[in-house]
Symmetry: C2
Amino acid sequence: MRQNIDERTGSPTRQPSFVESHVQNLRVAAHVTVLHEGDPARRIMEVVEGAVMLTKLLPDGRRQVVELLGPGDVFGLAHDEAYACSAETLTPATITTHERNALERDPALAARLLRRFEAQLCVMHSHALVLGRMSALERVAFFLLRLMPDGMVGGTLRLAMTRQEIADFLGLTLETVSRAFSELKRRGLVVLQRADEVRIQDRSSMRRLAGAA
Amino acid sequence: MRQNIDERTGSPTRQPSFVESHVQNLRVAAHVTVLHEGDPARRIMEVVEGAVMLTKLLPDGRRQVVELLGPGDVFGLAHDEAYACSAETLTPATITTHERNALERDPALAARLLRRFEAQLCVMHSHALVLGRMSALERVAFFLLRLMPDGMVGGTLRLAMTRQEIADFLGLTLETVSRAFSELKRRGLVVLQRADEVRIQDRSSMRRLAGAA
DNA sequence: GCCCGCTTCCGGAAAGACACTTACGCAGCC
DNA sequence: GGCTGCGTAAGTGTCTTTCCGGAAGCGGGC
């Protein structure tokens, strides 16, 4: 069952020893909400290991997964001193956190974050193209290619996300995602050993569908 | 008529004196493509004055305006040493450009870019929510509020974008954008003096529509 | 007056919403 | 150990809604 970080490791605001340190490593289980949209933004965080998703909510409950993060990616960004997104682990994860004002004192850290921000901004630009202009089938194909870089050809991908989470990432409903998986299967582009184990069968057709991504 | 920067000020690659300098200010007219998606990424740019849009294209010509930039915003980001987006001015603009490797030598510049990247990344997160989860009417309401910060209450907004450009920004078609404007007008939320002059009449209703943005 | 961009109208396609079925994992039990 | 039942997640069928897509009409600015 999914639970909040507050319930198992304690919220940052309730553990002064955690807040006071400049750098802190953190092990968290899967499906833990590491921080909440709107909370005061005291720290900035880096994924060391594992996968994290950033989400935003509309007042009526509609959700968007705005970013998927892996090792090296940075989160905990602030707008008006409050976190702009919630962050939830998809897998067990290791996270490093820094005090926000450490950025001024640590030029090496700032330089690393700058490079990473540039990469993440480019990924967000691609994602805007996906959300704004691609069909359901194209979005799912793009998503699978993104999780399956050219390196791991022939390998089987273990999805750490439910259909609902994928849908919230791609701006679709879970039914549409499910239908898209079935359609890709029917066309012979992918094979699903189980619902969460995908193998890309025809990579070039997938690339064509995803807009040569 | 819209034209490419190459045709009026010369491409950076053809003006060595421009390329060699570390910092260069640039005046460009409206509707000029300052840089092209895929070109080798030699410089990083800041908007000093005016408005710039970043666009991405799919092979079949579908376009997404991925970001709208104003004074202070940064563009010219690279993925694999190539520009990830094209950049086109919406208005006459002043642009400062830096050599990419100046980032290592100039910590003040790096610090400024870091802060700006953080802000732009947050805006992209919001935009993902808009593109993934909002209806056409909500998207247009959000768009107008974003261009009309609380400060300029009662003022009239002069749109620098065509319906097609707004549609490409919001992931809609120009007809749907036009319909949304008409619906907002019909409901009394906005007044259109002309097609490109908007006045927000009922700000609280607009906010509710846009998800309290 | 003409032209470009905007608006409006219509039919059609894609995705959403809802309901139901199926598959799987787990805990309790015989 | 294996059977059984429950709970969650995924797949599918049907209908509805929203948005797209072409076309025609409108209107302001040069």
